[in-house]
């Protein structure tokens, strides 16, 4: 059973549709008890960081998500919220990854970074198992996580940034696998089967 965390702003429907494609049971929830009963957790994020953290506080999920030992996949804002802090709304986040989230800058790039961009991953990345390197995935974001020690794949938009990262049981992807066609579905399948 997969717990799909719904804090009120994320688009859970699209991820749920992929889980249906993969014949996987899931529950859409914001309850601590249900998250604790699940096998794995997916945290889809759309929206604004400080609003999302406020909601997680309201549902009393911050501490649970920081210490949980189950495989955990954060998508887009869901990945950014696993950092120590975000410039978006200047908010302290979960602090799983010892890094931060900053805004794209520069006159020579368009912000938000919106559309399909090439992702280069390093050997042994479980999420990308069976996927050829250099495929395009769909991104839609104005803030990014700089390349850091936990980065497992990179993308470029003016600067190289973290397209995915991993630490212990925590996995994050900046792109939207649920909106990235067949290869995106493979990412979610890999999380379900290999992580």
């Amino acid at each position: 059973m997969i717990a799909l965390i719904d804090y009120g702003a994320g688009n859970t429907a699209s991820v749920a549709n992929v889980l249906k494609d993969l014949n996987t049971d899931y529950i859409i929830t914001q309850k601590e008890s249900e998250i604790c009963k699940s096998d794995k957790i997916i945290f889809p994020g759309v929206g604004e960081a400080s609003y999302a953290i406020k909601k997680l506080n309201l549902y009393n999920l911050i501490n649970l998500l920081r210490v949980i030992k189950k495989p955990f996949l954060g998508i887009c804002l869901g990945m950014q919220l696993m950092c120590e802090r975000s410039e978006e709304g200047n908010v302290n986040c979960l602090g799983v990854f010892p890094t931060y989230c900053k805004k794209f800058e520069g006159d020579d790039i368009k912000i938000p970074h919106m559309g399909w961009n090439k992702v280069e991953f390093s050997e042994g990345s479980k999420l990308f198992d069976g996927i050829p390197n250099g495929q395009h995935f769909y991104f839609a974001h104005s803030y990014y996580v700089p390349v850091n020690v936990n980065t497992s794949s990179i993308c470029n938009h003016g600067v190289d940034f973290t397209a995915s990262m991993q630490k212990d049981n925590y996995y994050g992807v900046q792109f939207h696998p649920e909106k990235s066609g067949e290869y995106g579905i493979n990412i979610i399948r890999n999380f379900l089967e290999k992580c």
Binding site: I111, P112, G181
Partner: protein, 251 residues
């Protein structure tokens, strides 16, 4: 580098896809869900649905359509048409759409752009701007192109960007349905004045028109409707053509 996008647009009336010329003379082009699935399989980068149904039942049918479309495609899609409240946006995003496009409502209430961007993120808010040349200037039109406003097209696009829109969908009514090519002059200037992504709309008649616009302007995406609906041009063939012209597209 982020690729240039090809976006089929589906004008929806009561669940069916329709397309007119210069915003009038609608003709039926098939089921919205079936077309969406076809475009996904052909390699479309995303889809846009504009609901032009004028009825009381509108909101319910649009939500149902979003649920059905989200069930069959795994690429992003935008929904627009008569959206005027944060609550409408919330429901559409939760039903499975990724972005909403706002047009008449933001002309009447520009502050809706910032409140929507604050709640849902800029990436979910597309400002759809319909322009038409009136004397020597481009004016903004609303209500599906029926009503002329006082607003200057270029200045309004810049204001939308400043207020937090994540993207501009620019339709040139003078070019829409003519199949004579996009309004490259306006698009070129627009891309110099805003630094959010711009989608070109109105006028695509053949694959050369797409190449011309990608080469001569800095737009991020080209949108077309009838060209794709009636099988005059397949998305796969178009993208291959653009790729061979050294335009960065996802094959």
């Amino acid at each position: 580098m982020v690729t240039k996008r090809i976006i089929p647009c589906l004008d929806i009336k009561e669940g069916r896809v329709v397309k007119g010329t210069n915003f009038i003379n609608l003709r039926d082009a098939g089921s919205a869900v079936e077309l969406a699935e076809r475009y996904y399989n052909e390699g479309a980068d995303e889809l846009v649905f504009l609901d032009i149904t004028a009825s009381e039942e509108k909101r319910k049918t649009l939500l149902q359509l979003v649920v059905e479309v989200a069930a069959v495609i795994r690429i992003p899609f935008t929904v627009g048409g008569g959206i005027s409240e944060l609550n409408d946006i919330d429901k559409l995003l939760k039903a499975g759409s990724d972005k909403v496009s706002l047009n008449t409502s933001i002309v009447n209430h520009p502050e809706l752009i910032s409140s929507a961007a604050k709640q849902f993120g800029s990436q979910a808010i597309v400002a759809a701007v319909d322009i038409k040349k009136v004397e020597n200037t481009h004016k903004v039109f609303v209500k599906g192109g029926k009503v002329e406003t006082e607003k200057n097209g270029m200045l309004w696009c810049m204001e939308c960007a400043e207020r937090g829109a994540g993207e501009i969908l620019l339709t040139s009514m003078d070019h829409d349905g003519t199949k004579d090519g996009y309004n490259n002059d306006f698009l070129k200037e627009l891309c110099e004045k805003v630094n959010i992504p711009v989608i070109a709309s109105g006028g695509a008649g053949n694959k050369k028109h797409f190449a011309d616009t990608f080469i001569n302007t800095n737009v991020d995406a080209c949108l077309a409707a009838s060209l794709f609906h009636y099988n005059e041009l397949s998305i796969g063939e178009l993208k291959k053509y653009l790729y061979n012209k050294n335009i960065n597209v996802r094959i």
